[in-house]
């Protein structure tokens, strides 16, 4: 009874997972609920959060740890899992262990805190989460099978972002008001988090943060370092993706921003597939050369990006050129092809 009711409530609230997969939470829960376990099912609360400009999960754990634990508890009850995990990046583990454990103990639920071995980006991908917890190399697995049917220890596993569990707790208690957490950061900007309505424009979010968009800045929106760049006139679109905005000084060195992005992906690539392992490295090098000499082999540039976007094993490789491409297009108004 409880199970069907909560899934119905989640569906009614239209909750979409607050990681970055845009997957209906009700659907996911339903799949895991129906999946057959060999021995038992698991719930994992994903707090991998390992990007410099995304810190909403930290904010949630600082302010609402009991809601998160409550959400996990509801999930465990719903899918009939005996065991839950909170998968924390190493810093968060150290920081929040003493916050969370008393709540877990008071609630008398079987939740274990798992310390992710590295502060890495790919370790947040859900199959990499499972690999990591099984002591394997931290990198994505081939899908299918998805964790909902074969996850931790090959058992059906519900993996959601910590904000999703927070939202579920609110939905269950009738307090959910269609909000989510937005992070703001950038050049000379204090890192801030605000809980604001979903489905609002980027412009509105900035306003809520008391920032007035202008041509002095450009904005990287959604998904931290993989987000698209917009100029101040393009901010009326609805906010989508992971809720982060990074504000850059418009005069910031072209080379610095682009190489910073490309370095990030190069360094965070797990090294499993050819286009990402090799492509992120080559792309970074040819761009460095371009900024130094002004010369760019257009064909190589385009082929690398084509291969990254279309043939990478996982999302990391696929999105690795997004920031750079949107930056050239929206901010620099530059078609690299003409600058040969």
């Amino acid at each position: 009874m409880f199970t069907q009711k909560i899934i119905k409530k989640i569906r009614k609230a239209g909750l979409i997972g607050r990681g970055c997969n845009n997957f209906s939470t009700a659907d996911k829960w339903e799949i895991v609920r129906k999946a057959k376990a060999k021995k038992e099912k698991f719930v994992i609360c994903n707090v991998s959060e390992s990007e410099p400009d995304v810190f909403k999960d930290r904010y949630i754990l600082e302010n609402y740890p009991e809601k998160v634990v409550d959400g996990i508890k509801i999930a465990m009850k719903t899918i009939k899992a005996k065991k839950g995990f909170i998968y924390l990046n190493p810093e968060y583990y150290e920081q929040f262990y003493d916050y969370i454990m008393p709540i877990v103990e008071a609630e008398k639920i079987n939740i274990e805190l798992y310390k992710k071995p590295l502060h890495d980006y790919i370790g947040g991908e859900e199959t990499a989460v499972v690999n990591s917890m099984e002591g394997k190399r931290v990198e994505p697995r081939l899908k299918p099978p998805f964790p909902v049917s074969k996850g931790f220890l090959n058992e059906p596993t519900l993996i959601n972002n910590c904000e999703t569990f927070y939202a579920v707790s609110l939905i269950n208690s009738g307090e959910y008001k269609n909000t989510k957490f937005y992070c703001l950061s950038g050049d000379n900007i204090k890192k801030q988090v605000k809980e604001l309505p979903i489905e609002i424009s980027i412009h509105r979010v900035l306003k809520e943060f008391d920032h007035t968009p202008s041509n002095k800045y450009f904005y990287q929106v959604g998904g931290g370092v993989s987000g698209n760049c917009y100029n101040f006139k393009q901010l009326n679109k609805k906010f989508s993706g992971l809720a982060s905005i990074i504000i850059y000084d418009i005069n910031k060195s072209e080379k610095d921003v682009v190489i910073k992005w490309l370095d990030f992906f190069k360094n965070e690539s797990c090294g499993q597939c050819v286009p990402c392992r090799e492509g992120t490295y080559r792309l970074r090098n040819i761009m460095e050369e371009y900024f130094t000499t002004g010369k760019l082999d257009k064909e190589v540039f385009e082929d690398l990006i084509f291969s990254l976007q279309n043939t990478s094993f996982c999302q990391l490789g696929k999105v690795s050129a997004n920031a750079m491409l949107s930056y050239f297009k929206n901010i620099k108004n530059k078609n690299l092809n003409e600058k040969n």
């Binding site: 890495d120 081939l142 797990c270 090294g271 050819v274 286009p275």
Partner: protein
Amino acid sequence: MKKIKININNKNYFAKLGETILDVALREKIEIPHLCKHPDLSIKANCRVCLVEVKGMGLVTSCSTQVEEAIEVFTETENIKRARKTNLELIFAEHIEKCDTCIYQNNCILLKYAKEYDLKISRFEERKKHYPIWQFSDSIQFDSSKCIDCRNCVEVCEKMQTCNFYEIAERGVETVVKPRGQPVCHPELLPVPDWNSRAGVSESSNQVSEMPKQVRHDTCLDLLNNNDNKFDCTYCGQCIAHCPVGAISGVAHWQDVEKLLENRGNKILIAQIAPSIRVSIGEEFGQEPGKIMTGQLAASMKKLGFDYAFDVSLGADLTTYEEARELIKWLESSKPRPMFTSCCPSWVKFVEFFYPEFISHLTTTNSPQICSGSIIKTYFANILKKDPLDIIVVSIVPCTAKKHEANLEKHAKVVDYVLTTREYAYLLHKHKIDLPNLKPEDLDKPLGIHSGAAVIYGASGGVMESALRSADYFLRVKKQTGSIKYKKGIAMTRIEFKQVRGTQGIKEATVKVGGQKLNIAVINELGNARDFLEKLKENKIKYDYVEVMACPGGCIGGGGQPVPTNSEIRAKRAAALYKIDENLPIRTAHNNPVVQKIYKKYFKGDEELIEKIFHSKFKAVEKAGYYEI
């Protein structure tokens, strides 16, 4: 299984649910290039070369995409060509072409793709120029500057052989597939090559380090458990057989052999071919797997300049003869059961390293190449009236572990050099000897004479069957005479033991030999051996005699055999060996006249001498690891 219809390049094909697009394409002879996919291994989909376009899905890897009813697949669109070409070019930049010394030069899949897909092979600068070469004992070399990071070696070592000798260290472009842990001291060169101080290029540097940097233990998850010392290489060479680009190879002996052939001085050069290579070497010359080439091989050895062309099969007959006698003594003794075969050096190393508690179960009878090598340097040296030191024995075998075995101190260099099937084929190619077109010749007498029982040594179950044939005989001799020596006039009743044939990982049977019931098992692949030993440890199973071969299907799937390999190819090679056996007039070791002669004229019943020449002991060994060269 349910059949569905799919469409590839506007043509309809039937497919089974659960198959991948690549499975169907390969079956229908539709060319899709692929590197990391191997039929013996799981799907990893990391090379991203087997791309196809599926309507509604865009580009996907065909190895990892299962067929669905009515999907429309295209294998040669502009998008595919572009991405495939780029990915292949990126792979090429990971693989330093050392074609002049590569024994795959006639059989290189990368060069084939380079031609077919019009690659610009130097579009990206080589990035592994100064990557090191690692050597494992005297058997295997891993040239990391040729590695394309497909991880087939890691998987085959971990899953098929459970030896876990490889690891994947680092991440991103610095990912390196390498032997586990730190290198050990080079046996000849001191001091230790210092892995830690190599090319200290900092992480923020623009260039990727030219050599792999210090393995960051704190970031290398595989090392967190620090299990390094629990795993070692057994030299089986399955990593070689499953490497798509020849980054791993047997330690080359062909240069030394070639030098000797050119300038032998007063040395007598003798080559001996292992049972299984006669049915596999043809593949290196475009022949079908299982093509029997014994006669051509005999001719080729002479053509290359060897003074004698002998056969390890004679050694196999000697091993069988001795091992059958040992089995009978064993069964009468209070020694722990089962008795394990020990002719596979990789299996021996596996026991010596991973399961020393089972060393006392190994038969002490030497392997065929050591038996025949010993006989060449004693019995045959006497015939030639030559100093054994002036006789050079070269084994041509399907195996890389035999290189290690031949170098073991206890075997006193009865075999001087060991060439793999691939290496010998390479030598023939190099000397423009077209094996299939040679006029077949006979192997030389006396040590080219062998039985059918010897030839089937090359297939999993062959050693068992050969030993059972002779054990059956000796048990009946014993009943009549009380001793286990060859005696004329005792009829042979049983030849074939078909229960032990086939490529299953573990075969079990109860067989009747000489009126006794024996519980036997035949195992191939070390992973299966590990399972078996674990059960044995728990006393869950009881056996009398067990054969173990490290490689899939036995020596016909050996680490020194031609690539590619797969279950179908291995089955064809094995079938050919059984065919040779069937057609030979002598099918048992004890009926081999040369074996009889050696025992009668040379050993003259001197059991001490037999023990000295045909038997040796085993000992627990510590991790040998690897070193840089």
